[in-house]
Amino acid sequence: MASRKLVSLEQTEHLSWLAKVELSEEEKRVFTEQLNRILEFFRKLDEVDTSNVQPTYHVVELTNVFREDEPASPLPQEEALRNAAHKKNGYFVAPKIV
């Protein structure tokens, strides 16, 4: 099978925007190539005929795992904030995105 390019450089740029990760020009080139290689592996799966197979939404056979609507003690504020890099007046501090 001819190796068709699946992911373009623009798509890698778009992915980095979605992931909020800044990439250098070199990284964009490398990742585009790697993504194409990964998808190339997955192409192998296209060879399997799945036209008569129901899609799997979950690997375990369980359904309806529920919990009753009974409150439990939440974490104390200082516990909740313990891993935060920046906090202020009981809030997590995050960069502003507009």
Binding site: Y57, H58, P71, P74, A94
Partner: protein, 484 residues
């Protein structure tokens, strides 16, 4: 002049299931309002690695009830999906939601809500209802553009949210408001939602004008705001079209304080969310039995209640519809009629006099302090001749706004009707001396009699008994006639 018919509006409403005691996927208490930030969290709703969500059974029950109340087809099977995006309001970097594509099914589909617009029934189709988790609350210092950073409170994160999406069947901002009011009333009657809680009902709107493009408006926080936001947007788009400019297909943000919409950051498109089935949650099978059990628990809904009000209390359709447009109002009416069994009179005092107070102070029904006992007492005081209708219409302000019993107000303000003949006779003599010309006219002309009665009322601030005042004035005029 272009007509409103060229406007097409669809709504995406987010309603918190406020009657739940816990969040959707964890046992954190849901009563986060007014609480210090980040005191209602756990590893699940903080999105800490290794934590696992478990579905609140009652949330499924409530969602099925909402689907039934909105005449939807309930799905046999519902699967939660991950909606992936990077934003601080969701610490996991995805929101657990439902999806109507890629094999996903929402809880309910294909329903409708009938609304009444200027006396005409209109059907608004519901395309789907689904469950999802509420994101965290973001706090900015001053206007968002000026704030140096974003403060995040995860108390709201994970609260069960019902997303209700309409078909683009609405054709004016007013219809959008009426629809949201009706939706609120239906969900409140179901006992799953309290619309008086701040931020419990929010919506996004899609709006397009003929010759324009579809614009999405985000951040509409109440049904009062929806009318303002859509009216602004229609005016903005009309202006563009009138000048021959293009309406850009985009997402805009409604700024409640500045009362205008503005362009939002570049947002992800639908496929950018890369939805996939949530592997930490197993599918939900909704059996026929379960649906029937929920159906059997369903309380009376607004439309049925309105019909009953017409049948049981002999109310006109208009009254019945207005009274059932809010559950608290309908409950108040019925409680009051039990104490004062004159339904039409109670209805009139609620729909005109009470509403006037609320409108004047821009309040809604939930902020009312008046109890059913108070209104019944006010009506009885009038029947017993203790106060005049004029005084009652004055008193109702303090009754509605402060919840002071009418009898106490009458006592305190000395507003009892004046039936003291001596007092009134002396007052009338004084007025006759003051307006000799009017008295001369009154001997021939009925209109001048009214003027004299009016003067008595003015002096007594409306407290003089009208019938007695009338009688005394006529008696005095007769005396004058005879003596001349």
């Amino acid at each position: 002049m272009q007509q409103q018919q060229d406007v097409v509006i669809g709504l995406e409403v987010h309603v918190q299931l406020t009657s739940l005691k816990t969040k959707l996927f964890c046992s954190c208490p849901s009563d986060y309002r007014g609480k210090p930030p980040n005191t209602h969290t756990c590893p699940v709703c903080l999105g800490l690695p290794g934590s696992l969500p478990v579905v609140n059974k009652k949330a499924i029950e409530f969602a099925v009830m909402a689907a039934l109340a909105l005449n939807c087809q309930v799905s046999e099977r519902a699967v939660f999906f991950r909606k992936n995006y990077f934003y601080v309001d969701m610490s996991k970097n995805f929101q657990i939601s439902m999806y109507d594509r890629a094999g996903g099914t929402p809880i309910g589909r294909g329903g409708y809500v009938d609304i009444d617009v200027d006396g005409t029934r209109k059907r608004v189709r519901i395309s789907r209802i689904q469950l999802e988790e509420d994101p965290a609350r973001l706090v900015h210092l001053g206007p968002i553009e000026l704030s140096p950073y974003t403060l995040v409170d995860y108390n709201r994160a994970g609260i069960a949210l019902l997303e209700i999406v309409t078909e683009p069947d609405l054709s004016s901002p007013k219809e959008a408001r009426i629809f949201l009011q009706k939706l609120r009333s239906i969900l409140e009657h179901c006992g799953i939602f309290d619309g008086s809680l701040e931020g419990s009902m929010r919506c996004d709107a899609n709006i397009s004008l003929a010759g324009g493009a579809r614009v999405e408006i985000k951040n509409i926080t109440s049904f009062k705001e929806v009318e303002r936001a859509l009216s602004f947007e229609i005016a903005r788009q009309r202006e563009l079209l009138k000048r021959g400019q293009q309406v850009r297909r985009e997402t805009r943000h409604w700024d409640e304080d500045r009362r205008m919409t503005f362009t939002l950051r570049v947002k992800e498109e639908e496929h950018d969310y890369r939805y996939f089935p949530e592997p930490d949650l197993v599918p939900i099978v909704i059996t026929e039995d379960f649906i029937e059990r929920v159906r059997s628990m369903m309380p009376e809904l607004p439309d049925h209640r309105a019909e009953r009000f017409m049948r049981e209390y002999g109310l006109p359709e208009y009254d019945a519809r207005v009274l059932t447009s809010e559950k608290a109002l309908a409950d108040f009416f019925e409680a009051c009629v039990k104490l004062y069994p004159s339904p039409k009179k109670v209805s009139n005092w609620l729909m005109t006099d009470t509403m006037r107070v609320l409108n004047e102070y821009n309040l809604d029904w939930s902020s009312i302090k008046m109890e059913p006992e108070h209104l019944a007492e006010l009506l009885k005081l009038m029947d017993d001749g203790v106060i005049s209708i004029k005084i009652a219409k004055l008193l109702i302000f303090d009754v509605v706004l402060k919840g002071i019993p009418p009898s106490k107000l009458v006592e305190e303000k000395g507003m009892k009707r004046i039936v003291d003949e001596n007092y009134l006779s002396q007052l009338i003599e004084k007025i006759f001396r003051e307006f000799p010309k009017a008295v001369q006219d009154a001997l021939k002309d009925e209109k001048a009699v009214h003027f004299l009665v009016g003067q008595v009322m003015r002096h007594t601030k409306g407290r003089a008994d009208p019938a007695l005042t009338n009688e005394l004035i006529r008696r005095k005029l007769n005396e004058l006639q005879r003596s001349s």
